[in-house]
Amino acid sequence: MIDLVIPAIVSCIIAFFVVFLTTPPLIKFLEKRNMAVKDMNKKEEVMVVRPGGPSIVLGIIVSEIVLYAFLQLNEIIAIIITTSAAFAIGYVDDRKVMGGWFKPVTLAIAAIPIIAFGAYDTDLAFPLFGEVQIPVLYLGLIILMIPITGNTINSIDVLNGVASGFMVIASFSLSICLFIVQNYEIAIVSLPLGFVSLAFYKYHKIPSKIFPGDSGALTLGAMYGSIAIVGGVEIIAAVALLPAVINSFLFLSSVKKIVEHRQIKGKPVEHTEDFKLKSTDDRTAPVTLVRLILAAGPLTEKQVGIAIFKLTLFSGTLAVITAFLMGVRI
């Protein structure tokens, strides 16, 4: 345990500062190339550059390579390849409009390195009841997990700072849980995700200077999913991610098919005269987490973000309780 302290500190510092220092030049580069989109939730004509994925993936790759130099774990290589593949998939989607099938199918392929490196355990651990061995089913779970976590984080990237702030809380919760279940090495491997998200949040928080784009959101989501698999904490990871899972569940159960957000015609949210966010009565619009938060009345973009962060803190607490329950048998 003690010999893991130095790799942990070094990788966390590198993860944070790589993103913190490379994002401002990336913003300038994207501004020069006019790669900006309108921030729909601002009264004035505000343009925000995207994607921030390159600085996010750079922070992850550099910090994980440093960890590999210390720990020599195959799991780290699998995480780096899967996360990099998710970044590439997201970057293609950032530059070119792809169909609704593109991300789920390609992200499923991105999960293959985890299987190829044997960086998983076929036992699925549940709190209170123990483990179950599901060799064939588990392979399917790996293939499904990366598209689910990637798209889930992408779907919650709707307001300034929400995706990165959400990932800060969810990933640090997951790291705490990995320490609780005494999987110390993967806990250390997971820490850079939280620090990368924290550094990016500095530029993504309201008012955003940069958006993560699909490349950023898929990178964060795929790394989260990879850690859940290699750490053997799939159920705990799902609990920490529940607000985003609810968002995807509400969206899919109202739309009843897999589609891109841009293909939806009905608007779930509109603006009041003072530019607060307000839920619409449009029956064709999908039900989303933001729409439900706004059902009680209009709120500012910042207030909605805080409501989502509070829900994430609640689910993070449930994840920590779940981690403790892993050691309890009934």
């Binding site: 009841f129 179950v132 060799p135 609810i246 569940f249 159960s253 439900l292 938060i293 059902a295 689910s315």
Partner: protein, 76 residues
């Protein structure tokens, strides 16, 4: 509405714990004999199909729970 969201989140968590119980106590011990080397494979397929059915039931319960919680919240 926010109170309903916390309730929905908590309900999902409880359903996950219960689902885990069903998987470990009922699905986990399923074994198949008499098919030689493919016993484990047939058992896995049975477990996979049962797990998918359980997920479908889980989603249906969640849909009911969603309608119940949020309709109640909107009325109040």
């Amino acid at each position: 509405m926010k109170k309903g969201l916390y309730g929905f989140l908590f309900g999902m968590w409880i359903l996950m714990l219960l689902g885990g119980g069903i998987v470990v106590t009922i699905l986990g011990p399923v074994e198949v004999t008499g098919y030689g080397d493919v016993n484990w494979f047939i058992a896995s397929v049975i477990k996979a199909i049962t797990a998918i059915i359980l997920v479908v039931i889980w989603i249906l319960i969640l849909l009911k729970m969603k309608n119940w919680i949020f309709k109640k919240e909107i009325k109040s």
